[in-house]
Amino acid sequence: MASGYAVRPNRYYDSVFLMGVNQRLARLPGVGQTAVLMASERNKELLAEIGIEGDEVRAAGPNDLLVAVIADSPAIVEAALAGLDDALQTLQAGTALSDLHTFEDGLRAEPGANLAVLTIPGGYVYREALLALEAGLNVFIFSSNVPVEDELRLKQHARERNLLVMGPDCGTSILNGVGLGFANAVRRGTIGAIGPSGTGLQEFTCQIHNAGLGISHAIGTGSHDLADEIGAITSLMALEKLEADPRTDVIAVIAKPAGPTTRTRLVERLQACKKPVVACVIGPSGPRQAGSEISWANTIDAAAEAAIRLSGKRTAPTAGPDGLQTVGPIRAAWAPQQRYVRGLFAGGTLCYQSQQILIDAGLEVHSNAPLDPAGRVDPFHAARGHTLIDMGDEVFTLGRLHPMIDGSLRRERIVRESVDPSVAILLLDFILGRNASPTPVGDVLEAVVEGQELRSKTAGRLAVIASICGTEEDPQDLGHQLELLRQAGVLVFHSNARATSFCLELLKADGGDSHGPAAR
């Protein structure tokens, strides 16, 4: 194994361009791992974790390009790095660059703008977002790694101006029927949603659409909005707006647990809301308020059902089999040592929800993004027991696209878990919608098939269970994605909760010891 790196000073490229370069270098035979990134402090730290450091790396700054290669031999490392400038040139030539490089350039070109969308490194977000707010724009911040003090100041500024800061680390919003970030094509309707979780909003809005109803607005608040340091500033503003919005009849909040002070304030505010409210808290939740005006739900599905009920509208019959008739045959095909579920998730909140469902049923669950700190595992170590991995975690996305767009890491992992003889169930999620991969199932299907084939050479059979988040309006052709999964023998559910509950059905002992309330 050999490694090497190159620095190209004063060249800033956006992350998608860098992916393209990365892919080109990674394709060379003998190349094990590559990273093509801007030399921000954070990226340098992450590179050091995989053994790439040195004087030049230390001296490099955020406007310098860093390219690292780990390969079978020094000769291959050299060859890969030698191809770098060529890769930069070729790809650059194909990209028509706009002449606009700053927010001011953008504002000059579009003086009537009312929204700025930011996908820039977190350290710069404060300045740019502040410029936008001062110019009277609302802001959608997809970027993560924004210091919490910056987030607070931005949201305070925004509140003074009656502007929305959706983010940081906001994956999804749907405003006036327009999807921002990762969003599904859902019809307009009267149900409004607010939440810090992108995939939470995605699943919720899809379920509403698939039940025949529609969404007025889905307002992402950024993952940190409900922490006590922020105090739900955006969530509370969003609530006000939806309360005042004539289109909206019902408001659903889809969240993970809030900080204690914030929770109290939020619950008070929800209690006082003039419109019916659904509060969905995924994960460990505290005691419910008594005599509540709020409809509480602990899964996205329950939230959708409550919202539909409160809207008083008629719905389409819910599609999807419960699959219970397959439980027996699946269990029968298992070898004795097959006992565990391994989940590989693109949606962080879905990973979280699945954990909650399994833990509530008495299972001991490990994760790299655990509900219970005691359940934390290093995702790079071999998994033991029931393990659900959030593949969108930062350690995986270093220099790579998110698993909702790029399936390569999930593919590797699928094969690895498939050949672990203790694994009985592989649990996956597929998320359709704008900005997601055009081929979410295709991205990992080969690996699923390969995994099953490898498994079939040994005793037992792997059950592959999946949830799919999408609508028939989404660009990826929902029907086609379902068909691909069916052909591969994957059992598909239209929600993460139902897919996970089905896993519980499979794991239920008939006096067996494959699970039981584990000591926690």
Binding site: N10, N63, D99, H101, T102
Partner: protein, 422 residues
Amino acid sequence: MDLKEKIERANEEATRRLTSGAPALVDIAPAGEVIPGLQGKAITHSGPPIEWQRMCGAQQGALIGMVLYEGWAETPEAARAMLDRGEVRLEPNHPHQAVGPMAGTISPSAPVWVVENRTFRNRAFCRQIEGRQQFGEYSREALEGLRRWRDLWAPTLREGLRVIGGLDLNPILAQALQMGDELHNRNSASSSLFASQMAVAMIQAGIPQERALPTMRYLAGHNLLFLGLAMASGKATADPARDVEYSSIVTAMCRNGTEFGIQVSGLGDAWFTAPAPTVEGLYLPGYSAVDAGLDMGDSAITETVGWGAFTLGGAPGILPLVGGTFDEALRLTREMRKITTAVHPTYRLPALGFEGTSVGIDIRKVVQLNLAPVIDTAIAHRQAGHPIIGAGLTRAPLECFVKALRAFGEKYKSREPSIPVG
């Protein structure tokens, strides 16, 4: 008024001065007669201050040539020895209100253009433009052009100039920009306009043919002649913009082949330097990039006032010389808008829809946008003893502007009250 407002106000004032220039050629005189401080064994040179030992090969060659030209030494070796012993006082041009192309060497007997900015009554000086000695050649033949200028062409032009009482240069500058000159490496139109005016002047002065004819031949055959006048005009225009307290506008950009230096209005006479950059360009037959010296000359005074590469989009004729496409040239010109403060009311570019040239380089914007001024320039050899070898494009080093901004912050932030603003 808070700090930002003070800076904005100051920049408006500095830029107003830059757009009010009214340069006029008032004399052509030996440098020792008109440049303050250039008497005795003294030679001024281009770029920021630098010691003889650290000068690049071409600049040393040019100085050797100048020592020989003044007759202070008989041979190149003796001239070099004299310079090694520190017997010649060497100073940069700019503090003497002077500018010089490439090595930029000006010695007491060398006639210089004398340009007065009628608006502010200040004067600036520039030496002649030629293609050999200022590039580092010091052979007898290379110095011949300097001698002819001193002994024949300059005095003859001076006579003509006296008779017409001086020559306003704004009409030539404005017209030439509209005719595709950029006034740094393309001066064909301006030189031509100047030549015809001086032809009239010399005839009016009744100068006998044996002097008038060779002088006219010199004018007619020299399509970079006007660069010297453009540089002096640029200097005469920029100098009044110096020393405006709180202003972050650039008043000088120059290079000596070793270092690039800038000066900033609100920072007085301080120099902010960085290693001189390489020039990306095209080479004359027999030469290539391995032979090239680094960026050199005070001619970046043209870019400082918004000409030169800042008008590249209006001077496509220069592209075969410096390289690049028309689209790139247009793009560069638009880019320079982003780091400047105002547009000039008089100097306009037809290729850009008659927009005015970009004036008032603001160090804050250069640093914020990471966008340095672009410069087009001739290229000298690394070593002494060669004429011009090529031409191309380069950028001022960002480091100069970073240093300047740091110094600007130190000077002006400390003046602000330390009461926190709520």
